[in-house]
C-alpha cells in the first residue's frame, strides 16, 4: 500500500523530532575539563561560603562508581543548605570519547562533573589533602578554611552524611534511605 501524504508527513516530522530532541536528552550531561589544578582551586573559591563536597572518582574504579549515586543524591538531601557537589574524575583525557562521555550518558548524572587532567598528581594531590597518597575513591569536604578528608567508599548516605554534618551550619535534615550499592 502506498503511504499517504499525511503518513509521510508524520514520518518526516517524527524523524525531525528525533534528530532535534534526542541529542538534547542524550547530551544533557555536561562536564568541564580542567587541565591544571589551579582551575579546580578557582572553582572551589567560586563556591564562596558554601559547603563543597568533592568526590574523586574514575569510570574504571568500581567502588567509585558504586558510591556515585550517593553523591548525586546529596544536594537534594540538603535543600536548606548551600552545598555544592563536585564529581572530579581522574579518567585519562585520551579516553574521553571512548569511556568517559558514554559513562556519563549511561549514568545520567545530575551533579557537576569535572575531568581533572592535571598529570602532575604528585604535586597537586597534597594541595587537596596532605595525607592523601592517591587511592580512590577519596572525598574532601570543605567550607572556607575548614577541610576534612575520607579515604574509601561510603556504603550509605548516612555514612556520607556523618562525614559532611560538621560542615553544615544548623544541620537538621531528614535523610532518605539511599544505599550506595555494592559491597
Amino acid at each position: 500500500m502506498k503511504p499517504s501524504h499525511s503518513h509521510r508527513f508524520r514520518l518526516v516530522l517524527s524523524l525531525w523530532a528525533l534528530t532535534i530532541f534526542t541529542p538534547r536528552i542524550t547530551f544533557a550531561q555536561e562536564y568541564s575539563i580542567y587541565d591544571n589544578i589551579e582551575q579546580l582551586e578557582a572553582r572551589i573559591r567560586q563556591a564562596g561560603d558554601a559547603t563543597v563536597v568533592i568526590n574523586f572518582w574514575a569510570t574504571w574504579c568500581k567502588p567509585c562508581v558504586e558510591e556515585l549515586p550517593c553523591f548525586d543524591e546529596l544536594k537534594a538531601q540538603y535543600p536548606d543548605h548551600e552545598i555544592e557537589v563536585l564529581l572530579v574524575s581522574l579518567d585519562f583525557k585520551s579516553q574521553l570519547e571512548k569511556k568517559f562521555v558514554p559513562f556519563l550518558r549511561a549514568q545520567n548524572i545530575k551533579s557537576e562533573v569535572v575531568l581533572l587532567a592535571d598529570m602532575d598528581v604528585n604535586t597537586w594531590m597534597p594541595l587537596i589533602y596532605e595525607a592523601w597518597d592517591g587511592a580512590i575513591p577519596a572525598t574532601v569536604v570543605l567550607k572556607g578554611d575548614k577541610r576534612d578528608f575520607s579515604l574509601g567508599k561510603f556504603d550509605s548516605l548516612e555514612e556520607l552524611d556523618a562525614f559532611i554534618q560538621p560542615f553544615l551550619v544548623d544541620a537538621n535534615t531528614l535523610l532518605k534511605p539511599v544505599t550506595c550499592g555494592g559491597k
Binding site: A58, W60, C61, K62, P63, L90, F92, S94, M119, D120, V121, N122, M125, P126, A131, W132, D133, G134, A135, I136, P137, D148, F149, S150, L151, G152, K153, F154, E158, E159, A162, F163, P166, K183
Partner: protein
C-alpha cells in the same frame, strides 16, 4: 599517623558507645577509648611504615604454592615490595613496568616481590586462582604473593595498587610511592621515581624524593 582519615565517618556509630560509657567512667578513659575506637576502625593504621622504618618479617603464599618470607631477602642488595593486583586498571597499565623493573634490578640484587592485598570476597578477579592464572599468562619473573588475611598490607600502610615500597639490604624502607609520573605513556615519564630510588640506594645515597603520590585503586578490604 593517618587514624583521622575516616574518623568522621565512624563518629556516628561510636557516639552512642561513648554516651553509654560516659555514665560509668571518667573523661580520660572516655577519650582514650574513643581514640582507640577511631584508630581501630582505620586500616592505614599507625603501624604504617614511613621511610627509615625496618620492615617486620612476614610469610605469604606465592602463586607456586610455596610460602615466601621477607627474611629470605635479607642479604640481597634490597627488595622492591610492590602491592599490585589483577583487576585494577592502574595495576594493569603498570604491569609491564613492574616486570621490567625486576628484569633490570634482580640481576643487580634488588628483585621485585609483588603482593596482592585485595580480598577476593569483594574482588573475585583477585582470588588466588586468578593470581596463578595471571602470573602464568604474563610470565611473572617474580614472586606474586597473596595477602589473604590482609595482615601485611596494613603493616606497610599500603592503600592502593600499585604501591611501591623499596627496602634496603637490612629491610629498612627507603622509598614509598609511585613507579613513575606517567601512567599512560611510560616513555613520556619525566620522573622514573623507583628507578632513581634504587639507583640512589645502590650508590649509597638516600633516594630523593623518598615519597611520591599517584592515582591507584584503593585496597579492597574483606567485609567486616
Amino acid at each position: 599517623m593517618a587514624c583521622y582519615l575516616k574518623h568522621a565517618v565512624y563518629s556516628k556509630t561510636v557516639t552512642p558507645l561513648i554516651l553509654l560509657i560516659m555514665k560509668s567512667l571518667n573523661l580520660t578513659t572516655i577519650i582514650l577509648l574513643a581514640i582507640t575506637a577511631f584508630c581501630f576502625q582505620n586500616w592505614s593504621s599507625q603501624s604504617s611504615y614511613i621511610v627509615g622504618d625496618k620492615a617486620e618479617d612476614f610469610s605469604l603464599m606465592n602463586v607456586d604454592g610455596k610460602f615466601v618470607s621477607l627474611s629470605k631477602y635479607k642479604g640481597s642488595n634490597g627488595l622492591l615490595v610492590i602491592f599490585t593486583c589483577n583487576h585494577c586498571p592502574y595495576a594493569q597499565i603498570y604491569e609491564q613496568r613492574i616486570i621490567d623493573l625486576h628484569k633490570t634490578y634482580a640481576p643487580l640484587g634488588v628483585p621485585v616481590m609483588a603482593i596482592n592485598p585485595n580480598s577476593p570476597l569483594v574482588v573475585p578477579e583477585d582470588s588466588y586462582e586468578e593470581m596463578q592464572k595471571r602470573a602464568k599468562l604474563k610470565k611473572y619473573p617474580f614472586a606474586y604473593l597473596f595477602d589473604e588475611e590482609q595482615t601485611v598490607m596494613p603493616q606497610f600502610g599500603a592503600t592502593r595498587t600499585p604501591h611501591v615500597f623499596l627496602l634496603d639490604s637490612n629491610l629498612v624502607v627507603r622509598y614509598i610511592g609511585a613507579i613513575d609520573d606517567n601512567p599512560e605513556t611510560p616513555s613520556a615519564a619525566r620522573n622514573r621515581w623507583v628507578e632513581s630510588a634504587v639507583n640512589a640506594m645502590m650508590a649509597g645515597q638516600f633516594p630523593s624524593p623518598d615519597f611520591t603520590r599517584a592515582v591507584g585503586c584503593i585496597v579492597r578490604k574483606k567485609p567486616k
